[in-house]
Symmetry: C2
Subunit: 83 residues, 2 copies
């Protein structure tokens, strides 16, 4: 499995409720694509949303987001990570 960071732009003013609803919509169908959305963060002022997921491919991550009604603007495979 690969880790991915995907980015949504243009979400100015997004609320905690909207973010939670969007995340639940992903979680409801993600297993069909072998994807798991671990976390999502949002900056309502710039309208930027980041989603951290693991899955078999960028395409699988985008299919879940698209079916849930919010395709990503960017998707990056995260080959490296530190904590």
């Amino acid at each position: 499995m690969t880790l991915f960071m995907d980015v949504h732009h243009g979400m100015q003013g997004v609320s905690q409720k909207q973010l939670a609803e969007a995340h639940r919509a992903d979680l409801a169908i993600e297993r069909e694509e072998g994807v798991h959305f671990q976390r999502a963060w949002a900056d309502p002022s710039s309208g930027t949303v980041y989603c951290l997921s693991e899955g078999p491919s960028e395409e699988a991550v985008q299919r879940v987001h698209t079916r849930a009604g919010h395709p990503a603007d960017e998707i990056h495979p995260l080959a490296l990570s530190v904590s």
Copy 2:
């Protein structure tokens, strides 16, 4: 404390060793600014690096990164998060 996502561009080909060294450089001085860098991820092919941190301000996060030799290109306060 606020959560922040900062983004570095132009890091094509970054290695796990380089990412770990950069992260250690941040960790070594972060306390002086009341910042903690929780995780960092990198996509060597697009040259994008994401850093998740908590701290008192964007300026404090940027001061740590700048003193460690790698100022961020973007810093977003993450008012909202879900998992």
